[in-house]
């Protein structure tokens, strides 16, 4: 049986071209980029080239990229780093209710340090409430953090409109672009953001690396204090092969974006229509149009997500329920609750995320299989008869 991988938001195989560029940096060009001799300095130069490739993907300047170990670290650095570097501006931040744990829990950390957090609500499609945002901003607000697109429901947030508000009120704006990058255009100038989170594995790069865009050398309290690496903004020996991999993946992502967006939108719509037409009592989660091209997410009533995922994987279909992180936390997805999904319905969440390696045939197989698997689980569900 062929494996059909439809969980690209959680991980994507490292592309061959990417791995090939990384390989020399493990054992041959292994030197520490902080060393003074020629071979170390050549590697330092290479890091700067990679910085330029990553900057280019989001239309930033080379000096506006800090390498991190993950999207989560970049989110932590953005939220904590921006706030802790500006105690005089104030101790209030605003985050949307559907942010990734790494943003939400950074906000919670700041609360322990005397900060206050306001949560920006979303509508039933997951779109943040712009009017409410205006009301929430106070003179002492340091930062607003709203993700570019949500990983669980695929909704794309109106970051440009948000940045018009934050600019006017002189508040920093951070956006987590982990889910959107490589799938739709991500341009820091167009978006008008001050900070933007990048993750390598979600654009076909290796795990263990990520990056943060920070505008114009803005002040940031380091998260990992150390030596002179990353101009003193992040300590620790650089993950050279990882950075090279991210740089190459960024280059490829830039080149393929337009075609990918087109292809994935077709696949997505095929899947959404197929599922909604063929299964009773199933709802699309997130926004029907303002959503990521490679993202289709549903709640199938009267069944539970983990059981569904396992049944699907027994049929060769690999997909996810809720966020990769939430899935083992044994809690109803906070994102689905935030968009007003009833708790029992939220249990049946299933999220399909595609890549260009996926085909129409695969989608058709899913459209065929999901109703069968759902019916099997519903047959043994005590709440299906009731429905």
């Amino acid at each position: 049986m062929n494996k059909i991988f439809l969980d690209h938001a959680s991980a994507t195989p490292v592309k061959k071209d990417v791995l090939d560029e990384m390989l020399p940096f493990f054992s041959r060009d292994f030197e520490n980029p902080s060393t003074v001799y020629d071979r170390g300095m050549e590697i330092k130069d290479r890091i700067e080239q990679e910085r330029a490739r990553v900057a280019n993907l989001v239309n930033a300047k080379e000096g506006e990229i800090i390498f991190t170990s993950s999207g989560a670290e970049a989110n932590n650095l953005a939220v904590k780093g921006a706030a802790l570097a500006r105690p005089k501006k104030g101790k209030h931040i605003i985050v949307s209710a559907i942010e990734h744990h790494s943003v939400l829990n950074s906000a919670r950390f700041l609360e322990r340090q005397g900060y206050e957090t306001s949560f920006l609500n979303v509508d039933k499609y997951g779109l943040v409430d712009l009017n409410r945002l205006e009301d929430l901003i106070r003179p002492e607000t340091v930062l607003v953090s709203v993700m570019h697109a949500n990983n669980e429901i695929g909704t794309i947030e109106p970051i440009r409109e948000i940045s018009e508000i934050t600019k006017q009120k002189d508040v920093l704006l951070h956006t987590d672009a982990v889910a959107s990058l490589g799938n739709i255009e991500v341009d820091v100038e167009n978006l008008g953001v001050d900070l933007l989170t990048i993750s390598s594995p979600s654009i076909g790069g290796p795990k263990g690396v990520g990056a943060l865009y920070f505008k114009n050398n803005m002040r940031l309290m380091p998260l990992i204090h150390g030596g002179i690496q990353e101009k003193g903004r992040r300590g620790g020996t650089e993950n050279v092969p990882g950075i090279v991999g991210l740089g190459k993946a960024a280059e490829i992502a830039k080149k393929e974006l337009f075609q990918k967006e087109k292809n994935l939108t077709q696949l997505r719509d095929r899947l959404i229509n197929g599922v909604l037409d063929n299964i009773d009592k199933v709802r699309l989660t997130g926004h029907p149009e303002l959503r990521l091209p490679g993202h289709a997410s549903f709640c199938v009533e009267a069944i539970e997500g983990e059981a569904l995922i396992f049944m699907l994987s027994a049929s060769g279909i690999y997909t996810n329920t809720g966020s990769a992180c939430a899935s083992k936390a044994l809690k109803t997805s906070p994102v689905l609750i935030a968009v007003g999904t009833p708790e029992d319905v939220a249990q049946g969440s299933v999220v399909f995320t595609f890549d260009t390696s996926n085909t129409q045939q695969e989608i058709d197989y899913v459209v065929e299989t999901l109703p069968i698997v759902s019916a099997r689980l519903r047959e043994m569900s005590p709440i299906w008869n009731a429905a």
Binding site: I303, E304, A307, D344, S381, P382, I383
Partner: protein
């Protein structure tokens, strides 16, 4: 990781279904929490002559329902009430730590069904 026994019971759950006019019915859990089980029993000569169940829940919840139904079938009511969550988990070749609570539900639902029968007889 789930054991092979868990995966087998999940993929091929034994005794799944409903009993029309059961002698006892036990229901536990809550769909809002992601798990709910209903156990249906027939009693004959103080023994469980038939057991069926329906389960809304995770892989572990379904496997636990299945193994409990197998373990209890044919047992006396008193014996069946003794089936512990530990015994169910062990019969399944173990459960991941964070899933141990699911193993509760099967035995609980069965006990409730027996108690339902006893309260009516």
């Amino acid at each position: 990781m789930y054991s092979e026994i868990v995966m087998d019971h999940f993929a091929n759950p034994r005794n799944v279904g409903e009993i029309q006019n059961p002698d006892g019915l036990g229901q536990v859990g809550n769909p809002a929490c992601g798990d709910m089980m209903a156990f249906y029993i027939k009693v004959d000569d103080n023994k469980l002559s038939d057991i069926k169940y329906k389960t809304f829940g995770c892989v572990a919840a379904i496997a636990v329902s299945s193994i409990v139904s197998e373990m209890a079938n044919g047992k006396s009511l008193d014996e069946a009430k003794q089936i512990s969550k530990k015994a169910a988990a062990e019969a399944l070749g173990g459960l991941p730590k964070e899933k141990m609570h699911c193993s509760n539900l099967g035995a609980e639902a069965l006990v409730k069904a027996i108690e339902d029968y006893e309260s009516k007889n």
